[in-house]
Amino acid sequence: MSRQYVIRRMLIAIPSLLGISVILFTILAMAPGDPFEELATNPAIPPEVRQALRTKFGLDDPVWQRYLHWLSAMVQGDWGFSFQSRMDVDTLILQRLPVTLIVIGASQILAISVAIPVGVLAAIRPYSVFDQVASTFAMIGFSLPTFFTGLVLILIFSIQLDWLPFVYRADIHATGWAFYWEHLKQSIMPVVVLGLAQAGTLVRFMRSSVLDVIRLDYVTTARSKGIGERKVIVKHVVRNALIPVVTLVFLQLPAVFGGAIVTEQIFRVPGIGSLLIAAILANDTPVVMGVTFVIACLVVLFNLIADILYGWLDPRISFR
């Protein structure tokens, strides 16, 4: 993979970031509500003062000037102040982001490690009993809304069996192994909920990807050379079948972030998803904007990584 390819992909990401910022700003600018509405209804404040304030904060500027102003503030990390938490939005988001990334990362690892073997086994014997069962379960996992899976898991493992806590706590009073054990225990359910939803999609995709590859001539060649079936599958088939799946994992991330918002809300995980919901319910606009922007940036970043990985895994792409 050439360095040129990576640089070109990165340059392509810039217009999409700008495009997303334009969409966000348009939504914000079109939204009803005037920050100085309160002053308009207050009889103690003369209209001239209000007008002066509007001019001072640039509310009467042309739209493109306001956009540039907003964009430069966002780029410089000046994201505003959270009315609810009494702190800067960027500090607040940075505090919450790691938890979300850990939960999403763990759930992706779980999804991949379940989906790849199941998808491969289902594709090796298409329309066998295993394939039918796996496909049905994949469809079920794919159709289960995350909030329902979450509630059912809480019902089974927290209420009926009383094995796992259903509220995620950041302040665990324990040290050493007990600390990690508690953290692991409370992370199991959020990670499983997110991971299973994702695994359903991945199994279906992995299966069709293997089915596409397994019929190719080079696989027949490998078999006819006398290589064992196991080795043919693992070394020849799966390797190539994984290429589109790796891309899909990254391209699915916008949906995963959506799932993470719901999951964090159910289990009260203190990540950016629950921050977003709390901010929306409390009318905390700067936080809402900030979190949406961060998630959008992360999605663009992961799309970029997917593109670059795809070029690395499949050298034919780079020379296009």
């Binding site: 999409s16 939504i27 509630l151 019902l155 959506g258 919901i277 809402v288 949406t292 998630i295």
Partner: protein, 316 residues
Amino acid sequence: MAGSTPASLSADAPAAGVVQARKARSISPAIETWRRFRRHVLAVSGAIVLLIMVLGVLVGPSIWAVPINEIDFTAKLQGPSLKHPLGTDDLGQDLLARMMYGGKISLAVGFAAMMVALVVGVLVGAVAGMASGWVDAALMWLTDLFLALPTLPLLLLVIYLFRDSVKQVLGVEGGAFVLIVVVIGGLRWMPVARLVRAQFLSLREKEFVEAARALGASKVRQVVQHILPNALGPVIVVGTIDVATAIIFESTLSFLGLGFPSDVPTWGSMLRDAKDYLDIAPHWALFPGAAIFLTVLAINFIGDGLRDAFDPRRVL
């Protein structure tokens, strides 16, 4: 063929001619598709489940005529019984009646949002596929941009910012409905657009379109009469799956408390209210959750069956 085909825009017109020419006994592609669909056991079961659901929410309320907001504290949080087949909630309201009301909303949102997504997607895809050049490039850039947007956060943002003003114009329930449908549809049209464009790019070079062009058919006629009907199969499949996605999005929004106003029972908002009573009244959460799951699963199986049925390369 012009004489034998009805004037209606039917998906089978051009292909039917081919079959007729080859065989004396003609089977229209619609019947052929149905024949293939029928063999897909899960898809047929999905269709039956969905039909029962639709009938249940449409006809059900006239049979089970219990008001959705009749409060009865003596019967609160009861499990299923003869008087309340699905039990009651914390205010003693009948869950079966509320489920039927909520199901109507969920299904209506699903189908309406799918229509919005299809109309926008087909329009963008068709224009991009026919125009080529910079129009195509610009539209596809826009499509890719929208694909990169995180749907749920944006959905939450738009509803958060606009719900009050839409409510003033269209009323509480109508406002929420229109807003949710437009926003879900507006964030789900991209796969349709890409699919339609790809179909158009290949179909517009086919001989039968060239023949129409040679006969002097205008661009609009080429699209409406010849290309679009042939591109519809995969679009219908995506549209089916979109209904399921829209239902999930709607219930997610209601579950998070940002969908319909809280006094309107939808499956999502019932789950939201029920989640604090999981330990004493699990039935309250399980019934609406199972309803969402069954509906979505049924629609997804139908989509799967349709995909197989529309795919002529697949031997069934």
